[in-house]
Symmetry: D2
Subunit: 157 residues, 4 copies
């Protein structure tokens, strides 16, 4: 069901489109997140640790982990859309599995069902500390494809 | 089922405890969020618009909306815990209802089931633009209470 | 945000359409569920206790509670659709709040966001034992409207 | 992250415990579901098609699919618990991916995080028609372990 390592490379034009859109997300820059890898229906985002990203105990706040997970899934879906499309998140659900502590977080978004209107993604977030990689969150997300001319995203319906 | 306006005031010591913990969340300060109201099992957080909070179309990124919703629910639960407790988010799910555009967002967290170990909260996010208040997200969250001595949050188990 | 008691009555033709569709759900009959109330964007379903509905400790199985919650939300959405439409559940999430034990369960589905393509519902399940009514589950559901001619439901996309 | 085919066999005593508990679920028998396979942290349940399981278009009702998915996850978690434990479903979320039509459904529950108190499972439901196996639902579930002596389960699974 999961195309894990099998995700195919993306053509340069679509990759450009994904990277340009990511570059317009003010929040990703503000958090310090970078787009590490884009393949067909597969995206990896990295978020290095900073005190500006913490919750009350000094770990990564779930809000930051969720933000990069949401973007990873959103762009995984977007990578499969035709050129004249916009993506919106309909909903997502995330389970926090372990304290998110480490040098950086890595969010992986992966399309598990691609439809004409709706796309479903699996989300995973890992915390990397030295050589150790720990799964800290896992989620599921529903995306909607919109014709770009509406200029309207985040409006499910 | 919803204690809407009926949420009772909190004693000053507990409110202090909630506000101190919120103050230690580096992410809330980095986003520019403030804790507007704390009552028993009820918390309101405000997040003014900034270009640093946007997604690719210039609206609030769902990640920022989710971050304040998660904190609002988390502190709503925390406000009902005994003094020697820590709170962790087990999971949450959020539906994006409308484009999150406006002068500021307001996240409301409200306890709907308070148990010895687990607490369930309802989450709502509104976008306020001038006199207009629009529901932009609604969610559901599960929290876990931990004895503070573990110093361990985000570790469901 | 919740049209609680304010849900308006439904015209007889649409109510007929909802009741006919409910009547075709083999599972509802097999479980012993009945459609108690249909209003605009609001549906109540009742499920009397039977040993055929239990989990291993003799309470109502979450699967039965989820089934009537899913149908209650689905028909709450359907009640607002134009005549030539079909409804499908895109996804739902449910929190179990307390042991589901009693004379019968009651599921309430309520539309909280009605869009052209997608509808979001709040789901609640209560257990009624004599004079006591206990909230045993609360959920959130996303529905999709399809033109009936496709004959295709449960196919998000 | 997923122990897919690597799930180890279960000792006969624990398997007996799982099968006995499943046998006490009145709902599983009423739906016609059978426990096909139990391994460590892994359970497969089968549900043959019957008109008593349908929604309004003659496909499997999402409620039936959810019921076997909930039980599959619940018993996957239960298979890893110490003998004096009960399991309860805290919450689950499920996405319906495709029309659930076929000779039978198969639900797979798989533990992805096993903690002292909380367990997180991945849920999958497939529809099998002749030689074709289609993923029709995917979900995520949180379970809680309770000491059996409490007699307190919210154990819908």
């Amino acid at each position: 069901m999961h195309a894990e390592n099998a995700a195919e490379p993306l053509d340069p034009v679509t990759e450009r489109r994904v990277r340009d859109s990511f570059g317009r997300q003010g929040l990703m820059a503000h958090l310090g997140a970078s787009l590490e890898e884009v393949r067909k229906g597969f995206v990896r985002i990295r978020l290095p640790f900073r005190p500006e990203l913490t919750q009350q105990h000094g770990y990564f706040h779930a809000g930051g982990a969720s933000a990069i997970a949401d973007s990873a899934g959103g762009y995984a879906g977007f990578s499969l859309f035709p050129p004249d499309s916009a993506v919106l998140t309909v909903e997502f659900k995330i389970n926090l599995l372990a304290p998110a502590v480490g040098d950086y977080l890595e969010a992986v978004g992966r399309v598990i069902r691609s439809g004409r209107t709706l796309t479903v993604c699996q989300l995973e977030v890992f915390a990397i500390k030295g050589d150790t990689r720990t799964a800290v969150a896992v989620g599921q997300q529903t995306l909607m494809r919109l014709a770009a001319r509406t200029g309207d995203d985040r409006s499910p319906g």
